[in-house]
Subunit: 540 residues, 2 copies
């Protein structure tokens, strides 16, 4: 999520989310911290979305909900983007039951005035149709944000990226270029999406049994190419996985994908056709726990049962961090007896992000005064900066930023300003918020060593124990010696209480603290682990 | 860990461990299930270890401890292996304070009689010195287990793999070959370890600041090559990380590594030398949480502070599953301003496992009657089987096995027998055992959504509540609405107790069950999450 501010008016470009790492125990989604926007809700002119991927669009419902509830909210800002992007936004808005959201389709090339900004979308190519760069004009100059892009000269559908318009903007003068850094570490040019189709057909031609292809559900052009290859080999196509069916539905409505009449079969009908007449297109290319493919690999899918002789084609590469989940899925497929084809075996995937030469081409077309690499880890921001230097941008005009670090531009030049609040907030179930560090820390502790709960009941009058302490534990391993330890805990409670009585400690909080210290030490001595120890003192 | 059994006598080959996956919450190590051995402690003739890596040697102390405590234990079986392997075993035995362990160094080529078996180690090359294949002869024929190997024709130290002896064994007739499958999916021959040295020197020559090289501490030949490259460029060497210092120490004692007098400097002395005169060799190539490099990357190492201008060379590739941890480490290094060189950037690593052509060469040298692919996931076992078919082994003579599935060989042929108990057991702190599924499930539940504890104190006489219920929660997020929920929980407790009283339920377990059902429902309704809900009823 990027905030562009001029003359006290704001345009927000992209509102993405990310998926949690294993350390974020129990967290479902990670959103950008909205605090800065919330405090400036009245200043927001518009939200612009470059394309429909989750890491650019996924946080939209949460941002809107947050802005709707902001103090002095003037109502929600309009949301701009391409037709497919807005269709995907609409589907999210409806899922979240949000009202009064103004979604505005923008054609690439048309210019809108948004307060002190002019807005233009420039058509780009990427692994989802309807991707754009965003040009925001101001009195001071133009900021160009590339969004995610590659320079695909032979896209499967629609025109190639609008290099003419980029060149024109470059000639007119671009103040700042913020460019995608995802593949800056890959040399040369990325292969065109169009090369994937013939390779898929080659792979399909060698298969005698059923074929299952898994890819990102939003990669509509890939789905089209799978459909084309299936058609060439006279196979029917079944779509499996909720998001696959949904995105193909949206893509067909908007004319981005064409599936011949009678070619689609339902997941329950797959068994009605001979194996060599079926291609299944499925979600799960990232090994996601509840995805269709993962469930099939673990023989736990309600409709599709994979078997020896089936071929599973991974028409996608694992997003960094998903390698293990993908490998586990592949291994289960081998265990079933399936054959597996990945991009390592055949060119059945093409990345949607341009390689180093494309990043240089972008820099040369746009000829920006200043460069701020975007969308990559620190390593890729650095490599992007090196590419900018290689095409002649002065090192002092390149800004390797960080989340929350604003770049300030004016007549005198460009520099980083003071840090603003930024970072991650978590979605846990349906609630969002800055999940207190304490809660995450507690969860890590609970998950590492479990918990001991010791309930101590004392008389209000004199603090004497009026019932045997209750000792409960969860997630604590190997307690063959449990009875003994429970007995020791009871004895320790007695002696703690006696010592507390001797020191005239009667306040429940202080008693609990004293008990905690003694019991935690005992448990550590016995188990050499540090489960959470939670004494509860009840006065009766 | 492999058990070879003949005439009711057992030789155990390798006793490895693995490291836990994130789902194994709070687990430190994963060992093979020893039940089968424990029940047959009296039949164990010997333990043989092919080489000193953790996944072949690491479980030795645990196995021995288990056997020592087995019923009717006749004392511990002797342990056989090469000199370095036994030195590493000794260090583990001492750490675990085990006594009366008989460690026997075996020279490659010598033959020992162990009950009905003859034992011979065949010299192989791998990423640790002193690696061997194990040939176990019986009246029925010879079983050859390759251990981990590559056919390195120009090893850094010592002779190449003993292909002559393998060929001789092949001519004499090998009944069963159990071969390493790690790199069966890589085409051609693996590069020699010797090619790494010159590339390291090339990379070093380009560096102006300090150089840090990280690799596996047991890869003594790699350390030697780093030392040689450092010497060529007149840099001193510092060893950082406990296991690096320990393994280099053992390697020097046994003559596997030579470091010139005066070349080593202590970690604290690094700052005394100019940056361009220092090479640091460090653990942490896998991004391990507490490793030296990881701590440096997070600016948390007591002796070494990395800075802009330093170059960090990863002379290792991530073991599958460690990619994310390695990438995080690399990104932190970029953030500090270090330059980073990985095997993707320059050939600064060579795998210790042979590629497909080497696996075929092994099959052709040994000409086994039967083949059982070893040491790989299901995918690699399958690919190994395909390679065996490609060199002419009949499909019915190839056995793709699974842990616990014994292969039975006799005069009539070979076949899988009935499954034996096998699998994983967990080490949690210092305790080992089959961590009850319940404990792991509890931990997952605790880590996902936290825990609610509700303490209810009732009078023994009539079951009436004698104190306000205590409500405690941990790891539960976003409780702005906590007060309200706590109040609702108290009300629910009241109504549950009343209903229980009406139904004359007085037994504490039943009361707790009733409270659990009502409270879990309430918490789910309010939070849409399922934290663990633990009602504790105390009678006074």
């Amino acid at each position: 999520m990027t905030v562009v501010e001029y003359d006290e008016r704001i345009v927000v470009v992209d509102v993405g989310l990310r998926f949690p790492t294993p350390e974020m125990v129990g967290i479902d989604l990670v959103l950008p911290d909205f605090t800065y926007l919330r405090e400036r809700a009245r200043e927001i002119e518009a939200i612009v979305v470059t394309h429909g991927h989750e890491d650019h669009l996924g946080a939209l419902p949460w941002v809107l909900r947050e802005l709707a509830s902001a103090p002095h909210s003037p109502g929600l800002p309009p949301v701009y983007g391409g037709a497919l992007t807005m269709a995907m936004a609409r589907s999210k808005i409806e899922e979240h039951k949000l009202r009064d959201v103004q979604l505005e389709e923008v054609q690439a090339g048309e210019t809108l005035e948004l307060g002190p900004f002019s807005l233009e979308l420039v058509h780009m190519t990427h692994s989802i149709p309807d991707s754009s760069a965003v040009a925001l004009g101001t009195d001071l100059g133009t900021v160009l944000m590339t969004g995610d892009y590659k320079f695909d000269q032979t896209p499967v559908d629609g025109p190639p990226a609008d290099v003419s318009r980029l060149a024109e903007l470059g000639r007119e003068g671009v103040l700042l270029l913020c460019g995608d850094s995802t593949n800056v570490d890959r040399e040369g040019f990325s292969p065109s999406e169009s090369v994937v189709g013939p390779h898929l057909e080659e792979v399909f031609a060698r298969c005698e049994g059923r074929i299952l292809v898994t890819s990102f559900a939003s990669n509509i052009h890939r789905v089209q190419q799978v459909v084309d290859a299936a058609q060439a080999l006279e196979r029917k196509v079944a779509l499996v996985g909720r998001s696959m069916r949904k995105n193909v539905g949206i893509g067909r409505t908007l004319g981005h994908i064409e599936i011949p009449e009678g070619m689609l079969v339902g997941a329950r009908e797959i068994e009605d056709f001979p194996d060599e007449r079926i291609v299944i297109i499925s979600t799960g290319s990232q090994g996601e726990p509840l995805s269709a493919l993962r469930r099939m690999a673990y023989r736990d899918h309600p409709q599709v049962e994979l078997k020896a002789g089936d071929t599973v084609v991974f028409s996608a590469t694992p997003v960094p961090g998903n390698e293990r989940a993908v490998n586990e899925t592949i291994d289960r497929l081998y265990h079933i007896g399936c054959d597996v084809v990945t991009p390592r075996d055949a060119p059945v995937h093409a990345s949607g992000h341009g390689y180093a030469e494309e990043v240089k081409l972008m820099l040369n077309l746009v000829k920006p005064r200043y460069v701020m690499p975007f969308h990559g880890d620190f390593k890729r921001l650095r490599l992007h900066a090196q590419l900018a230097e290689a095409v002649g941008v002065a090192p002092e005009d390149i800004f390797e930023g960080d989340n929350g670090l604003p770049l300030e531009l004016d007549e005198r030049g460009a520099r980083f300003g003071a840090r603003e609040q930024a970072g991650m907030i978590f979605v846990d179930g349906v609630e969002i918020g800055e999940l207190a560090d304490a809660a995450l820390r507690d969860r890590r502790m609970l998950s590492a060593d479990g918990i001991f709960i010791v309930v101590v009941t004392i008389a209000e009058q004199d603090g004497s124990s009026v019932a045997d302490p209750e000792v409960i534990f969860r997630g604590v391993p190997f307690l063959d010696q449990a009875d003994e330890l429970v007995e020791e805990i009871r004895l320790t409670v007695e002696s703690s209480l006696q010592r507390a009585a001797g020191e005239e400690i009667r306040e429940v909080d202080l008693l609990q603290q004293a008990l905690h210290d003694d019991l935690a030490q005992l448990v550590y001595d016995r188990l050499r682990r540090r489960p959470m120890v939670l004494p509860v003192v009840v006065e009766v």
